[in-house]
Structures are given as C-alpha cells and as structure tokens.
C-alpha cells in the first residue's frame, strides 16, 4: 500500500479528531472490474447507478457516511415550512436491491491516489477507478469572531440535515416583529439561486406568520447571482418592507453573544441569523493532492471528468473547478449530468472502448413564493478547441417572469431526479 505523505497526515489527523480507528487492511476484495464511488450525493449516486445500467459486469462500491439521502434542493422549502424534513429524506436501498451496488456506510478518512483506494474507518477499499463526489467544505476564515458559539448561533444549513431543521424551528420560534439576517458568500458557491430562493421563502413565511418581521441580507456579491430581475421583482411586489437586500456587503465579523453579523459598513442585529459561508472543494481532495496548493477547487478534464492531477480518478459535482470544466453552475442537476458523463467514461476505459463526447443539461427551479417560481437552464457540449464545456448556442435562458407553472414543475422535477439517482 503506497500512501502519500499528505494522505497519511490527513488520515491521522482526522482519526484523532473523530476518534475513529483507521484500519489499514484492505476490505471487500474485488471479484472483477470495479469502480469505487465516494459520496452518496447528486454526482456520486448518479455515477454509481449509471455504471450499473451501462455495464452490469462492473462492480460498484458506493461509500457514504449517512444512512439516508438528504436532498439539498428542496431543503429551502423545508426551512420555509412548505415541506417536511421527511419529504427530502430518501432511502439508499434500491441502489443495492435493484442495481446490485455495494453500499458501505462509514467515515472516509483519506483518498489514496496511488493505490486508487478510499481509506475508511472500516478499512481500505480499492478499485480499478475512483469516482469522487465529496462536495464542498465550508470556509470561515476571515470572519472575525467566528468560534463554536458563533457556529451554533449562525447555522449555515447549506448541507441538508440537522441545521435545516434547526433553521426551520428558529423561524417558528421568532416573535412577531422579529429580525432575521442572512449572509451570502462570494460566488462560486453551491447552488447559485439557492440563497435568493431561501430569502424569498423566509420572507413569505414571515409575511404570513410573523407580522412586522424583516429579513436583512448581506450579499458578498455585487448583485443577485442568479435570476436577479425575477427575485428583485418578487421581493418588491410580494414582500415590500420585509426584504432588506444589501449587495457588495461581504461578511467580515460576527458577535455570537450579541447576535450581530457585520459587513464593513453595517452591523445587523438579528434574532435568527443564517450565515452561508464561503465554499471550497472537500478537504479530502485537498489532502489527496487533487487540488493544487493554494487553489480552491479540483481541476478536471470535462471530457470524462478525470482529474488533471492523477490517473484513473474522476471527480464530479460541486468540488470541480469551473475554470477547467467550463461555465457550468454548481447545481444538483449539473452534478447529475456530470455523474453520467463520468460513468460512461469509466465504463469505456474499463472495457477498452473510446470515450464519447460529453452532453449535459442544467435546469434550476427556484420558488419565489409558495405559489410561484422561475427556472434557468442550458444545454452544454464539448468544445474541442478550448477543452471546455460550452453552452450550445441559443440553449441558455431564464424564465421571463415568475409563474405558478414552474412552481408545480419544480416539485415533480425533484421527484424525477431523486428517482433517477436513487430508484
């Protein structure tokens, strides 16, 4: 077993923190060609299922910490009291029962690039190829006053789970005339329209249930990152006097005991505050040397989503570097599309066939109120001159106005794509 120095250090440090034993022995010996998929989120699930659809002769081991799937898309609807936590929580069972995927629920300590293996708390799982979909890590550096108390007071709720339920509950406990604050990190971050959908649904909840309450937004970006005209119009027309949106206002300081979040210009006191932090590729990718020193995201060749820094390793999802992929958003839909491209490329490589050119779609639905929404989307192909994904001419667009049709479609979109990943 050849560990890099970096991965040994990373695994050791993580083991101390989590107090889990790291067993170095190999487990689950392969009986044939095998792909190991790290991460049971949007990119990893799709890759795992589509490898089995493409070639049932290839063994797939999926490694995921959580016992059930929690959906990041639609989690804003839970925070806004339109849906429940149960409705965004789904079983992984069909992937093993219907598709024969071996699922290992355990903590991942490191990725061993040279051995093409994932080091887990239960042992080391090796394959012929790896598909890594570990998602994003949150980065609170540069925020004065950030500490454990601040983390409790200002949850991110940007990965679905306990913080989603916490933010929902805090809104329910807010008195009338209460003050909510929300801060948005610099782009790129996971789900470009996500913060603005959240603002809208919180505002709708305040309007209906907490009269006199307001939500103040400190956005690090110079303007609304996605669907700007539609969100702005919705806030002006549906929530006048409720949404106070302040662009170009990066979060620089918090005070957990006073409950304030501050930009260089304003101190915003809040009863409930949601700090969505800056984001970067998962620590696992940095520790494994799959992100260059000083960089934030993992570079890949989008033809098959292979790492540009290691052989036989694919990386998909939000952790990938848009400067090497092309200008695709960090969305669940794109992660799903990436997973399919990586699955085809991995199967082609394992069966001695030529890889085929990538073809991807994005569609992002956002609600602006419980009744209305808007969508944005595009089709992407591969441009051989630049080596990047490029929007197919004419295929990029955003809704001209908010509509009830999109709100209806959004829920059925979620049902369809959950089924495509998990069913």
């Amino acid at each position: 077993m050849s560990f890099t120095r970096r991965s040994i250090l990373a695994g050791g440090a993580a083991a101390l923190v989590s107090a889990l034993p790291v067993r170095a022995e190999r487990i689950l010996p392969a009986t044939g060609p095998r792909v190991v998929v790290l991460g049971g989120g949007w990119g990893g699930l799709t890759a795992a299922k589509y490898i089995r659809l493409l070639d049932p002769g290839i063994e797939v081991v999926l490694i995921e910490r959580r016992a059930a799937f929690h959906s990041c898309p639609i989690s804003n609807w839970v925070i806004g009291h339109l849906r429940t936590v149960d409705e965004i929580t789904h079983s992984y069972a069909a992937l093993s029962e219907r598709h024969g995927i071996r699922i290992l629920h355990t903590e991942v300590e490191a990725v061993d690039v040279d051995a093409k293996a994932v080091v887990t708390a239960d042992g080391v799982v090796a394959g012929d190829r790896l598909i890594l979909s570990p998602g994003v890590a949150f980065d609170y550096t540069g925020i004065d006053g950030w500490n454990e108390a601040a983390a409790r007071r200002f949850p991110a709720a940007w990965s679905p789970g306990p913080e989603t339920a916490l933010l929902r509950a805090r809104l329910a406990e807010l008195p009338s005339g209460g003050r909510v604050a929300l801060t948005i990190p610099p782009s790129p971050y996971r789900c470009p329209p996500g913060p603005y959908e959240r603002i809208s649904l919180i505002a709708a909840y305040l309007k209906q249930h907490k009269p006199g309450s307001t939500i103040t937004v400190l956005d690090a970006n110079q303007k609304i990152v996605s669907k700007g005209k539609i969100f702005q119009a919705a806030w002006d027309e549906l929530y006048p006097g409720i949404v106070d949106y302040r662009p170009d206002s990066p979060l620089v300081q918090v005070d957990a005991s006073a409950g304030t979040v501050s930009s260089d210009f304003d101190d915003v006191a809040a009863d409930v505050a949601n700090v969505i932090p800056s984001q970067r590729a998962s620590r696992l990718l940095h520790d494994a040397g799959l992100v260059p020193d000083g960089a934030t995201w993992a570079p890949v060749d989008p033809y098959g989503f292979t790492s540009t820094l290691a052989a036989d390793i694919h990386i998909v999802g939000d952790a990938t570097d848009q400067t090497t992929v092309g200008k695709v958003p960090k969305s669940g839909f794109i992660a799903n599309s990436m997973g399919k491209v990586a699955a085809r490329a991995a199967v082609a490589a394992l069966t001695g066939n030529e890889a085929s050119p990538p073809s991807l779609i994005n569609t992002c639905y956002s609600l602006v109120s419980p009744e209305e929404g808007a969508s944005v989307g595009a089709v992407y192909g591969y441009d051989s001159e630049t080596g990047l994904l490029q929007v197919r001419p004419g295929s990029s667009g955003v809704s001209s106005q908010r509509s009830a049709t999109v709100a209806l479609q959004a829920w059925d979109w979620a049902r369809a794509i959950w089924q495509d990943m998990l069913g």
Partner: protein, 102 residues
Amino acid sequence: MLAAFALVLAAPAPAVADMSGDGARLAAPCAGCHGTAGRVPEGSVIPGLAGREAAELASLLAAYRSGERPSEEMGRIARGYDDSEMAALAEWFAAQPPGNEP
C-alpha cells in the same frame, strides 16, 4: 462491519434498452426531469417519454425549438440539439419500455 452492507437481492433492474449508443448518451441528462429512460414518477406534471412514437417526439422537439410550441423550459433545451441529435433522442426514447418508475 458486514451488517453495514445491504444485501444484493435478485430484484429486477429497470429495463433500459441500448445504453451504449449516441441516443443514450444524449438522452441521459433528460432523465433529470423526465425520469430514468423517460419514465417519470406516477402523477408527474412533467410528461414521460418512454415508448412514445419517435415521429411524435421528433416533431415536438422541432416545435419547441422553433417556438411554434410555447414552453417554460423546453424551448431553450430543444435549441441545444441539431436535427440528427433530435432524431437520435426521439428514436432512443421510443425504444424504451413505457411506464412509470416507482
């Protein structure tokens, strides 16, 4: 540790015809709204595509692309494909067993 693995049962995998060709490659991302192999979940307002006539699907795509058929999403999506890609998409979805996914 063994208990952490779900058992591999003999439950049937969904029938998906011809995953290897160009139609499957182009159609794969459509599943993000229309379900795996064009089979949507029961009761969806988004239509299923599996097992429909290829000529019908091709003419719908062309009408979305030209704007003759108004839409929220499909106009821009259809503009992402040329005639031969539309034909490959239509033929691939037509060849899939119809029905709903669970």
